[in-house]
Amino acid sequence: MTVSSAKPSVTGAPRIRHRGRQRRRLVGLLFLAPAVVLIAVFTITPFFQAILLSFQSWDGVSPDTPFVGLANYRYVFADTEFWASMKNVAVFGIVGFFVGNGVSLGMAMAVQAVTRGKTFFRTVYYLPSVLSVVVVGMIFSSLLDPQTGILNRMLHSAGLGVLAKDWLNNPAVALPTVVAVFIWLHWGFGFLLFLAGLQDIPKELYEAASLDGARFWGKFRYVTWPGLAPVTTVVSMLTLLAALQIFGTVQVLTNGGPGYHTMVPTLVIYTEAFTNNSYGTAAAMSVLFGGALVLLSLLQLRLSARRNRA
């Protein structure tokens, strides 16, 4: 009697556990669902709409969006302006990646090393990142003005007038100037992450390295650099993507000029859509450029993963 009455409870327990698991799974899915819905509506749908639009012709206003097959892609492949902009953005990417990250890391190591004024330097170095791109553009347009700008005036005052340039209109220096402004604007982000990464590296490792006779380079090579690996992966990928997607800084400072010397793909896409009213072509450019970015990100993640394993 006792045994027979105990039997159903033995078989019922797993069922209850199973129902509990199902309920937890359901709750989890329900909590996840809002995010999935939002991503589906605001990320996935526009993504597929952009691909669809790249095969259509649309002026941005008309209710008609006729299919034009591969015409938009043919136009883009023949568009020298777009490909020139791809070359320019490669410069932004390479310089932003190496120099930008190098500067951020250098500043983070310097701030980590100082014993006084750490908060001050942390604030000052991060300050550019909180400024609006348009504000930064206006500030630098004024600073770099060939006649009334502070930079040229300082050079003249220092007897270095020969170095004074029309920084934003001279093709020889326009691109490096815009890249420099971009690095100035973005170094705070990398700096903050590198600093956080440095603070996570145990001091004992540096002490042990010192006891082993390691100097600055040895400590950096065998303690700091491996310790920063996860942060470096994130910072380098985000910096690279930010450099490749640069838009506001270029638009405000040079609008892609002089000629096409500082033109970047995002600005070409914007002009194609909002000035030339060719949304289909702009979408085709977006698909090609976006695809290139995805491939680049995957490549970088793969390289970083290999480095982390090593």
Partner: protein
């Protein structure tokens, strides 16, 4: 029933399920609401039987005057007018967004024909041809009406008609400080060579003192080319019926090189950037770092708003080039004006307001307060214009009246290649070839 841990967990789970379900429902309903096409009709809703209209205004320069006039109109008629000014840079993208969401305003500012063509083609503009045939049409100079007319076979593919009315005639010319530029207002340079030599003589420390923003080079080139090309020839080139390698265009680009060769081009470049013309205007009106520059007539209203104390400058038409076969003529552009949305709730009331706005009395207010050249022939003939507008106003008489416009691709090519030409990176032949390619691509 005793409150066991199992019961608590079950109750918590129920609460969690409810929470999750309700958050999903809220998100889904919001997303679906966003995806649902707007069922509200276009235009502004009227409340308590009173008509309410929205004017989507592009120009900051006329905003204060437009608001004041709208207030007067409301007092007179009871029709409420809301003027919405998003700013010149945001105007077109926001207007596109309004069209896409079918929330177009009752009235909106006209802009360049190229930029506005999609709106006209999509039926967001009332054809005013028949309205202008009556007495209302007499408020406008015939040239302005012709400029606003889309003729049959126009290169933008717009259905023939008149979709805009204007209270400003826009012309182009040179703004100069007589002292700094050496240009004597009583004895203006007779030829473009005289202009260059006068500017060259007035240079300080060998620095160039004349400039033109890259974004205005298409109009500068169009103005210069009219020394050799008729309106029809220019219009045909814009439509792709004539080639860009004609001598008139070649000579026009040569003038940029002549300016550079004479050392009068400030910094030896054509300045660019998204804010190029406002920067040039600041250089002239506020910093006085250039002595003369090429601009459109609304530049005078910018000066009035940003540097009201500086009034000693003059405007002048471009002088004739040596060896020119024709008199140079300013590009004629319909300036500030309005488009009426025929699908709004109150198109008749919107039309009545725009008719009132273009009456001579209101045009007079615009002219005096916003410093613009009116379109009313009587006002134009009265000569009651600010002295700084005199040179621009002189261009109204013989301005170019074209049935076609630069396509955006050609506009962009001229803008960028003019910079490259001055920098010595391209020859005139290469520039003309690039522009021809842009013309072919935009066909």
């Amino acid at each position: 029933m005793p409150f066991t841990s199992a019961a608590r967990s079950q109750s918590l789970s129920r609460r969690a399920v409810l929470l999750g379900a309700s958050s999903l429902a809220a998100t889904a309903s919001l997303a679906l609401a966003g995806c649902t096409p707007s069922t509200s009709s276009t235009g502004s809703p009227s409340s308590k039987g009173k008509v309410s209209l929205t004017f989507f205004n592009q120009s900051r320069g006329q905003e204060a005057t437009l608001n004041a006039l709208a207030e007067t109109y409301t007092k007179q008629t009871g029709v409420k007018i809301t003027v919405d000014t998003p700013g010149p840079v945001d105007y077109l993208p926001k207007l596109q967004a309004l069209a896409q969401s079918k929330q177009m305003p009752d009235i909106y500012s006209s802009f360049t024909a190229t930029a506005m063509a999609p709106f006209y083609k999509a039926g967001w503009a009332k054809d005013l041809s028949s309205d202008l045939k009556g007495s209302w049409g007499k408020n406008f100079s015939p040239a302005v009406v012709k400029l606003a007319t889309f003729a049959k076979g126009n290169n933008l593919g717009v259905k023939p008609g008149i979709y805009t009315v204007h209270w400003e005639t826009q012309t182009y010319g040179i703004l100069a400080d007589p002292t700094a530029s050496g240009i004597d207002p009583t004895a203006l340079p007779q030829t473009s060579t005289d202009l260059i030599s006068t500017l060259a003589a007035a240079r300080k420390n060998g620095q160039g003192n004349f400039t033109v923003a890259a974004s205005l080079t298409p109009q500068f080139i169009q103005y210069l080319a009219s020394n050799w090309l008729t309106d029809q020839q220019i219009s045909d080139t814009m439509a792709g019926k004539a080639k860009w390698n004609a001598d008139g265009w070649r000579n026009a680009f040569q003038f940029l090189l002549d300016l550079k060769k004479a050392g009068v081009l400030a910094n030896n470049v054509i300045p660019g950037g998204s804010n190029d013309n406002p920067t040039v205007e600041t250089d002239f009106f506020t910093k006085h770092s250039v002595a003369a520059y090429f601009d459109a007539s609304p530049g005078v209203s910018v000066a009035h708003a940003t540097a009201p104390d500086y009034t000693s400058f003059i405007s002048l038409a471009l002088p004739q080039a040596p060896g020119a076969s024709l008199s140079p003529r300013s590009p004629g552009v319909p300036g500030k004006g309005a488009v009426i949305n025929p699908r709004g709730q109150h198109p008749q009331e919107a039309l009545a307001f725009v008719k009132w706005l273009t009456q001579p009395a209101q045009q007079q207010v615009f002219s005096e307060q916003a410093h613009i050249i009116p379109t009313n022939p009587t006002l134009l003939a009265s000569g009651k214009l600010p002295t700084q507008l005199t040179g621009f106003a002189s261009g109204v008489k013989n301005m170019q009246v074209l049935t076609n416009s630069f396509t955006s691709q050609v506009n962009d090519a001229i803008t960028r290649d003019s910079q490259s030409l001055v920098l010595g990176e391209k020859t005139i032949d290469q520039v003309l070839s690039d522009i021809q390619s842009a013309q072919n691509l935009s066909a």
